[in-house]
Symmetry: C2
Subunit: 372 residues, 2 copies
């Protein structure tokens, strides 16, 4: 499926994130890591550190390393253990340790090769090493390509909450090689589709129509379908981030399904459900809350629920107990002045941020977890 390096002339799409002096391109295409021409586009630096994990590294680190060898005088590779449980201070400190040990200065650039967890972690290492160095996101999961690699959100988990310690630090570039998705386990493809589906209800119902028509192709790993899904998702996300970099307002609509989803992840213990699985189920809950508030019809909720189910995602929440759910949602960082705000669908294709009566949220939880 992949052309050889010699014959490589990949079809590449560029989406720009427009943030004044922090603007950057997202390059999307199948086989970009094997395209020597990409090396000319890479940001200038004296040295590069590839941060990857022990699952993705063996598959793709050699490709990235060869590409960077064309651009940088020195490239170091650091492989970390995979998984959400390692998205913590200890692992972050290992990255800083290597940077210091190798006498890396502010002119060093980090390449984050892996999924969302790795990107958040390596991005936060770049945000905090010597008060900030450059980095490039090289996402290798669908979830990271359509969502977490774009927008500059970096973080690690705190024992008391997911992503609670972090920074806004924009990458210098995002390099999405959709060919890396061929090695992605089915379960992770589905998890990534949750964040693709998200863009429909919050912003673009034409895209939602397209996803519905192509859901089987997407799950089967069809390269053309995946490339389009990544591109359209990045376009929507780039526009939203460009308008509200630090999530002081509108950007929060990207968290559709996430308040409920985070509660599921935290309640079960991080890693039991994939982030995308929790978000998929969380979107069903948020859609039901929107319906109870009279913002959308039952038919829309059913349509979205079906699509989430057809993507291979759970639509029924784990039975954590209503009290535990509401407790976990209270600490969620989107809470403003102690009151929980939700991303709600105000007519298909339009999202708003609003509070909801506690009793109504509890009814939604009872309805959404009853079969578990």
């Amino acid at each position: 499926m992949l052309p050889s390096a010699e014959s490589m002339t990949p079809t590449m799409h560029q989406v720009d994130v427009d943030l004044a002096d922090r603007s950057y391109p997202i390059l999307i295409g199948a086989g970009l890591l094997l395209a020597p021409v990409i090396s000319d586009r890479l940001p200038a630096a004296s040295k590069a550190l590839i941060v990857t994990n022990d699952v993705v590294g063996p598959l793709y680190a050699h490709r990235l390393n060869a590409l960077l060898g064309r651009r940088y005088a020195e490239t170091i590779v650091l492989s970390l253990p995979d998984g959400e449980t390692h998205k913590n201070w200890e692992t972050l400190s290992r990255i800083h340790h290597v940077l210091l040990q190798q006498a890396c200065d502010r002119d060093t650039i980090i390449f984050a090769l892996g999924g969302g967890v790795l990107g958040d972690l390596a991005g936060f290492a770049a945000a905090t090493y010597m008060r900030g160095i450059s980095y490039v996101q090289v996402p290798t999961t669908l979830l990271a390509q359509v969502d977490s690699s774009v927008g500059g959100k970096t973080a690690i988990n705190h024992p008391l909450g997911k992503n609670m310690v972090g920074a806004f630090h924009q990458p210098s570039m995002v390099l999405c090689d959709t060919a890396t998705l061929v090695t992605l386990p089915k379960r992770e493809v589905s998890a990534g589709l949750a964040e693709v589906i998200k863009y429909g209800p919050i912003s673009d119902m034409i895209f939602m129509d397209w996803i519905e028509e192509n859901i089987e192709n997407l799950r089967a790993g069809d390269q053309a379908a995946l490339a389009y899904a990544v591109r359209r998702s990045c376009e929507i996300k780039a526009a939203i981030v460009s308008a509200d970099e630090r999530e002081s307002g509108r950007r929060a609509i990207l968290n559709f399904g996430h308040t409920f989803g985070h509660a599921i992840e935290a309640g079960l213990g991080f890693g039991r459900w994939l982030h995308g699985e929790a978000v998929g189920c969380g979107m069903v809950m948020a859609a039901r809350l929107s319906q109870r508030l009279g913002l959308v019809e039952a038919a829309f909720v059913e349509r979205l629920t079906n699509l989430i189910r057809n993507a291979g995602l759970p639509t029924v929440g784990p039975n954590l107990g209503i009290g535990r759910y509401t407790e976990l949602m209270r600490v969620d960082k989107k809470a403003a002045s102690g009151e929980n705000r939700f991303v709600l669908i105000n007519g298909p294709g339009h999202a708003i941020l609003a509070t909801a009566p506690t009793a109504m949220v509890e009814d939604v939880l009872r309805e959404s977890c009853r079969d578990s």
Copy 2:
């Protein structure tokens, strides 16, 4: 010496740090913490967390707490152990822990009440909690009032290097109550004077004349002299920071004496010498290097050395060994592309950034450590 709260109409000077949407005022005056009028100037927030240490807290936390009680619905106080050895991840995580435990959201504001170590630490907690919340610096040491509280540099130490993990995160306000300096130990007054003296050679020789004339008053804790030193230092620093927020160029001149100084601190183990003591001695070394490069006369080096000595600061470096010094300086974060740059005095009142031949640096170290 301090007027009562009722009679309080302190003389207040305001210096502005001009950084577009990140601009903020530095308020300077004796007794500001006892002036109810200040509470109207404080930034809006739903909740405040005072972060202080077990030395400063017992002296001034009640004053700040009373002031904040006029402005915020809730104020929490967190007291941490004092000292450079606690400027690490464990202490940072304690701040995050309290914020999460108290369900603090992004609308919470941190007040950093203490010296430079505390300000760096609490500032970095603000920079990283939920990807950044507001904070106010309330410096209670001379060093923090004239230098570290202004400019948004926040950090913690890494086992392999001082201030290696941090962020640029501007405070919303700096509140310098010079009355808090009356409780400052003599040794810390001297350490603070190192950073005051610094502004002379790098930027303002008229200020250097003034410092020379007033050095005894400053060491004796004369309120008017200290207030002027704080004000003029903040004016110079604010102008430099406003022109180069993230130290991509000119701002680095504020590190005069710091490359040598950091090596002294790291070589002895952090905390053995106070930061200002190491910087004082480092300025002597940097001035000597400037002289060897033909940038200043011997008379200037002698004049600066005398002033540093008269401030109660060491002018002879500890004997770490030349190899250890150069090794420690190589990791210093001002190194660009692996080569060490120094802040040098290019004629009194003018600083430049330049490299220097290794042999010359070693000669300076031999000359500057010979008596130890």
